[in-house]
C-alpha cells in the first residue's frame, strides 16, 4: 500500500492544479526581473564612469574640479582627502559610447553622467591616487595636472637642487605610468581596459608658463633621467614582495621599451596607454580656458 500512497502524493504534486501553475508562472517571470533589479542596482551605484585627477600639489586639480562643477573655480587649499563629484557631459558633446546611436535616439537627449575624482597631490598622500588605479571601478581616464609655470626653468632658480618642481612632477608621472604599465602587463584572464592619460599643462595664463609642447618635452627628458637613476638605484627593502603596490617585485620594472635611450610618451602605447598633452588654464584674468576637456571626456566616455 505504501507505493500507492506515495504515488498519489506525487501525482497530486504533479497535477496541473491552478495554484501550482500560477506559482510556477509567477516564479518564472519574477526571477529574471528580480535578478535584473538586484544586479542593476548594485552596479549602477558603483560603476558610473570615472575620470581621475592626479598631479603634484598646487597644480590646480581641485580648482579644475570646482570649475566643472560650478562653472567657475572655487578658492582652494591643499587637499588632504580625495573628492568625487558627479558631472554630466553637455548635450553638444557626443560621447564615444553613443556613436552608433542615431541622432533621433531619445537616449542621446539625456546627459551622460560621469564622476570626476580629485586626489591629494602631497607626497605623503599619493597612495589615494595609486589605490584608485590599482582597483579601478570603471576608470575611463586619468588627467595628470602639471603646473606649467612652476616647472619652467626660468622661474625656479632653486640653486643647487636644480629644477625641483620639474623633478618632482616627472617622478610622480613616472610612477603613475609605471603603475599603468604594470597593470597592463599583469596576466589576467581578461585584459584590463585601456586607460588614456591626459597631461594638462595648467596655468598657461601666467607669462612664465611653458607652452604645452615644451612641457611635454621637458617631462620626457626628465622622465628619462628618472628612469635611468631608478635603474641604477639600490634595490628596495620590499624585494620579493609580489604585489603591484609594493613596487619592485622580483625583477625591476622598466618604464617603456627596455628602458634604453630617451623616453617618449609614445613608448607607452605598447601598454595601451595613450598619452596626450594639452595646455589650459583654470584660473586667469580672462576667465578659465580648458578647451579640449569636454572633447577628451566625450571621446573616452
Amino acid at each position: 500500500m505504501a507505493w500507492t500512497s506515495s504515488h498519489s502524493w506525487l501525482a497530486s504534486l504533479m497535477a496541473p492544479t491552478p495554484l501550482a501553475l500560477t506559482i510556477g508562472v509567477l516564479l518564472v517571470l519574477s526571477i529574471p526581473l528580480f535578478l535584473h533589479f538586484v544586479i542593476y542596482r548594485s552596479t549602477t551605484s558603483t560603476t558610473l564612469p570615472t575620470f581621475l585627477l592626479v598631479g603634484p600639489s598646487g597644480s590646480g586639480k581641485t580648482s579644475l574640479l570646482t570649475l566643472f562643477e560650478r562653472g567657475q573655480p572655487a578658492t582652494t587649499r591643499t587637499s588632504q582627502t580625495p573628492l568625487t563629484v558627479e558631472l554630466s557631459l553637455p548635450l553638444t558633446t557626443p560621447a564615444a559610447s553613443s556613436q552608433y546611436r542615431s541622432a533621433a535616439d531619445p537616449s542621446t537627449q539625456f546627459h551622460k553622467k560621469f564622476l570626476l575624482a580629485d586626489t591629494p597631490g602631497h607626497g605623503k598622500l599619493r597612495h589615494h591616487a595609486f589605490d584608485t588605479i590599482i582597483k579601478p571601478q570603471n576608470l575611463k581616464g586619468i588627467i595628470f595636472m602639471v603646473d606649467a609655470a612652476d616647472i619652467s626653468t626660468s622661474t625656479s632658480t632653486t640653486g643647487a637642487a636644480g629644477n625641483e618642481a620639474l623633478r618632482q612632477t616627472a617622478e610622480y608621472l613616472h610612477d603613475l605610468l609605471l603603475l599603468l604599465q604594470k597593470r597592463a602587463n599583469t596576466k589576467t584572464s581578461r585584459a584590463p581596459p585601456d586607460i588614456p592619460v591626459l597631461i594638462a599643462a595648467n596655468k598657461l595664463d601666467l607669462f612664465t608658463a611653458l607652452p604645452a609642447p615644451l612641457v611635454k618635452s621637458a617631462l620626457e627628458t626628465e622622465i628619462t633621467n628618472v628612469r635611468n637613476s631608478r635603474g641604477k638605484g639600490l634595490l628596495d627593502s620590499g624585494i620579493g614582495m609580489d604585489d603591484i603596490a609594493g613596487g619592485a617585485g622580483e625583477e625591476r620594472e622598466w618604464l617603456g621599451e627596455g628602458g634604453e635611450g630617451k623616453f617618449t610618451f609614445g613608448q607607452m602605447e605598447e601598454s595601451n596607454v595613450q598619452v596626450s598633452v594639452v595646455g589650459w588654464n583654470v584660473v586667469g584674468a580672462e576667465g578659465p580656458d580648458v578647451q579640449g576637456w569636454w572633447a577628451w571626456v566625450g571621446e573616452n566616455l
Binding site: E86, K124, H127, A161, D236, S237, M241
Partner: protein
C-alpha cells in the same frame, strides 16, 4: 582684529571665507601641510571628540597666528588667522560657536555625496558672532566671554530692525520660506548695535552704506557669474526652469515689501541673483536645497515668534540646542537601561558594521594595538602617540559594513604608518648628486658644478663607517668619483678602519675600472670641522663628484661633543647629513634622533636616516617608526648585512606589512 576666517573641507575646497586683510594663500596651505599632513605640529595630548579650538595647538607662521577647530565626520576645518602681535582671547570661542552654527545649518548639504557645493549664506551669522564675542571681550577683558543663555537674549522689543519692518505679515511669512529673509534683518540690526566687525563701523553708518560696503565682494563675484551664465546654460537641465520661477515669484513679492525699507537696493540685488546661483547646479542639488529651506523655515515658523525675531536668537537657539544635546548625551549614557541596550546593539554592530565609534569602544583594542607596536620594537612614546592619533581620527566615525572595530583600527593604523614613513619629497640620491655635479647647461642661471657633500653622524658603534663604505660602493658603481674624509679624529683606530675600507674599494674599482676613490686624512686630535672644510675644497679643486665625511661617534647626551656638530655643519656645509641609527635600539631611538636633529643649529637639521643592522631584527623594525615619528625625517637607506652590497632603500609597503604582521 582677525585677518581672515575660513571654513574649508579636507578635500581642499573653501566653503566660506571672510577676509579682513589680504593673507597669502601659502599661510593656510602651510598650516594644512604642517599640522594635518606632515604632522610637524603634534596635536595636544587630549583626545576628545572634535576637541574645542582651545585644545588644538596654535600654529604660527610668519607674522600670523592660526587657530583652528575641526569636524571630522564631515571633513571640515575652521581656521582663524590673525596677527601674532594681537592677543585675541575670544577666537577659540568664536571657532567653537561658528563650528556649531555652521554644522547645524548646513549638515544636510555637507553630507551629500558627489558634490563639493555648499550653498551657504553665512556672512550674517558670522558677523553676529564676531560682534557679540568681541564685544563681550571688550567689556570684560579679564575673562573670556562665556555664552550663556542669559546674556544672549536680545532686547527684541526695543529692536529697531524689527520695528522698522513693513507691516504686512502674510507677505513676510511667505518670504521667510526662501530662507533669505534673515539677511536684511541681520544687517539692519548690526548697524544698530555698534558693530565692530568691519573697519568702517567705528562711526555710526546708515544701514544701506554698511550693507553695500560689506557686500561688495560677493556682489562682484555674482556679477561675474551672471556673465558666465549663458555659457552654463548649455549644461543646464530643462527641469531647472521650474524652481527658478518659484523663487523668482517669492522674491518679487519681497521686492515690493522691501521698497518700503531703506536697504532695498541690496535686497533687490540679492533676489535677482540667487535664482541664478541655484540654476548653476544640477536639478537634484537644486531640489535638495529647496527642500532644506522649506524644512528649516517650517520649524522656524513652528516656533512662531522666531521667524520675526532676528538672527541673534536663531544663533542662540542653535548654540543652546548643541549644549542641551551634549548634556543629554552625557546623562543618557549613564542610564542603566540605555547603557545595556547600547551594549547589545553595540555588540551586534561590531559584527555587522555601521557602528559609531566612541572612546570606550576603542579603549581595549587600542591598548592591544599599542602592545603590538611595542612588541615590534616601536618606542613607547611613538606607540602612544600613534595610537592617540588613530583614536582621535576614529572617534565618531562609523565602521564600514561587516567591519569589526579591530579591523577598522588596523586599517587606520596602517594608513597612518604609511603616511609617517612615506617621505614628503623623493629621496633619489643619484639624481640629487647629478643635479649638483653636472647641472643642466641649458639653463644659464644654473650654478657651476661642485662636489656633493654627504656626512654621516650617529652614536658610537652603530656602524657609521660600515654604512659609509656601503654608500661609497654604491656610488662607485654609478661611476661617481669619491673622496672619503676621515673626520673621526677622536676614537683611536677610526682612521685605520676607513683606510682599510678605502683600500678595498680602490682595488674593487680598479678591477672593474670604475671611478677614482681616495681617502682624505689628517690624523688624530685635529678639529674635525676644519678637516671637513679642507676636504671639500680639496675635492672641488681635484674634481671629485662626492665627498663622504665620516664623523666621530658621540652619545646624544654628551653636550660637549654634540655642540661641535653645529660648527661642523657650518664649515663643511653638507648637502645631506645622514644619521645612522641601529634597528636594535629600543626606546633610546627617539631621544637620539631628536638630539641629533637639533644639534646643527637653527637652520639645519638631519636630512635622513640610515637604519643599520636591519637583518638582525626580523620583523621588529619598530625603530624605523620611532625615529621618523620623533623627527619627521625620512629613512633613506637600510643596512641589511655585512657586505658592501647590503644597502637598500626603504619600501614603505614592506615596512608597514612587517609592523602589522
Amino acid at each position: 582684529m582677525l585677518d581672515g576666517f575660513e571654513i574649508l573641507t579636507t578635500s581642499g575646497v573653501v566653503l566660506w571665507s571672510k577676509s579682513y586683510a589680504p593673507v597669502s594663500s601659502s599661510i593656510i596651505n602651510g598650516f594644512i601641510k604642517d599640522v594635518f599632513i606632515e604632522e610637524k605640529v603634534l596635536p595636544g595630548a587630549s583626545v576628545a571628540d572634535d576637541a574645542s579650538a582651545s585644545q588644538n595647538p596654535t600654529y604660527k607662521k610668519e607674522q600670523y597666528t592660526l587657530k583652528w577647530a575641526s569636524v571630522k565626520d564631515l571633513g571640515l576645518i575652521f581656521v582663524a588667522v590673525y596677527q601674532s602681535l594681537l592677543h585675541l582671547t575670544w577666537v577659540d570661542k568664536l571657532l567653537d560657536n561658528i563650528r556649531i552654527i555652521f554644522v547645524d545649518l548646513y549638515r544636510d548639504q555637507l553630507k551629500k555625496p558627489h558634490t563639493s557645493v555648499v550653498e551657504c549664506d553665512f556672512d550674517g551669522y558670522f558677523d553676529q558672532q564676531v560682534k557679540e564675542l568681541e564685544g563681550a571681550a571688550d567689556k570684560n577683558p579679564q575673562r573670556a566671554p562665556q555664552v550663556t543663555v542669559n546674556d544672549l537674549t536680545p532686547p527684541s522689543s526695543s529692536d529697531n530692525g524689527i520695528e522698522g519692518l513693513p507691516p504686512p505679515l502674510p507677505g513676510l511669512a511667505a518670504v521667510s520660506q526662501t530662507g533669505q529673509l534673515k539677511k536684511p534683518h541681520n544687517n539692519g540690526d548690526s548697524t544698530d548695535i555698534t558693530p565692530v566687525s568691519t573697519p568702517d563701523t567705528s562711526r555710526p553708518t546708515t544701514p544701506a552704506s554698511h550693507i553695500l560696503g560689506g557686500k561688495a565682494g560677493p556682489k562682484s563675484r555674482r556679477a561675474k557669474k551672471a556673465m558666465n551664465a549663458p555659457a552654463n546654460a548649455s549644461s543646464g537641465d530643462e527641469r531647472k526652469g521650474k524652481p527658478k520661477k518659484d523663487t523668482g515669484k517669492k522674491m518679487r513679492r519681497w521686492d515690493a515689501d522691501g521698497m518700503a525699507d531703506d536697504d532695498d537696493g541690496t535686497v533687490l540685488d540679492y533676489s535677482i541673483q540667487s535664482p541664478d546661483e541655484d540654476g548653476m547646479h544640477s536639478p537634484e542639488i537644486n531640489a535638495g536645497i529647496d527642500g532644506i529651506d522649506m524644512q528649516s523655515a517650517g520649524t522656524r515658523t513652528g516656533k512662531g515668534q522666531y521667524v520675526l525675531k532676528d538672527l541673534d536668537s536663531e544663533v542662540h537657539s542653535i548654540l543652546e540646542g548643541a549644549n542641551e544635546k551634549k548634556s543629554q548625551s552625557a546623562s543618557s549614557s549613564s542610564g542603566v537601561v540605555g547603557s545595556s541596550l547600547g551594549v547589545i546593539s553595540g555588540l551586534f554592530r561590531n559584527v555587522i558594521g555601521g557602528k559609531v565609534l566612541t572612546k570606550e569602544d576603542l579603549a581595549k583594542p587600542m591598548r592591544a594595538m599599542e602592545e603590538h607596536l611595542l612588541k615590534k620594537n616601536v618606542a613607547r612614546e611613538a606607540a602612544v602617540r600613534l595610537c592617540e592619533g588613530v583614536e582621535r581620527e576614529l572617534i565618531g566615525v562609523k565602521t564600514g559594513s561587516f567591519e569589526s572595530v579591530e579591523t577598522t583600527i588596523r586599517t587606520a593604523m596602517e594608513s597612518s604608518l604609511r603616511k609617517i614613513l612615506t617621505p614628503t619629497t623623493s629621496l633619489d640620491i643619484l639624481r640629487s648628486i647629478t643635479a649638483v655635479t653636472s647641472p643642466s647647461n641649458l639653463n644659464p642661471l644654473s650654478p657651476s658644478p661642485r662636489p656633493y657633500v654627504i656626512s654621516i653622524v650617529g652614536v658610537n658603534g652603530v656602524g657609521k663607517s660600515t654604512n659609509l663604505s656601503k654608500l661609497a660602493f654604491f656610488l662607485l658603481q654609478n661611476n661617481f668619483s669619491l673622496l672619503i674624509a676621515a673626520c673621526d679624529t677622536f676614537r683611536s683606530g677610526a682612521v685605520e678602519q676607513l683606510r682599510v675600507h678605502a683600500r678595498n674599494l680602490k682595488e674593487l674599482s680598479a678591477r672593474e675600472s670604475l671611478a677614482k676613490i681616495d681617502l682624505y686624512e689628517k690624523g688624530y686630535g685635529k678639529d674635525a670641522a676644519n678637516i671637513a672644510k679642507d676636504a671639500v675644497s680639496y675635492a672641488s679643486s681635484n674634481n671629485y663628484d662626492v665627498v663622504l665625511i665620516d664623523t666621530a661617534g658621540r652619545r646624544h647626551n654628551d653636550t660637549r661633543l654634540m655642540s661641535n656638530l653645529e660648527k661642523f655643519a657650518n664649515f663643511a656645509n653638507p648637502d645631506k647629513i645622514l644619521m645612522v641609527g641601529e634597528a636594535l635600539v629600543g626606546s633610546d631611538s627617539v631621544a637620539q634622533a631628536r638630539s641629533f636633529n637639533s644639534s646643527f643649529g637653527a637652520r639645519r637639521g638631519l636630512d635622513g636616516f640610515i637604519i643599520s643592522k636591519c637583518d638582525t631584527v626580523g620583523d621588529m623594525v619598530g625603530s624605523l617608526v620611532s625615529m621618523v615619528h620623533a623627527t619627521g625625517i625620512p629613512v633613506v637607506f637600510l643596512g641589511v648585512g655585512q657586505h658592501y652590497g647590503d644597502l637598500r632603500t626603504l619600501n614603505v609597503g614592506w615596512a608597514v606589512e612587517m609592523l602589522m604582521k
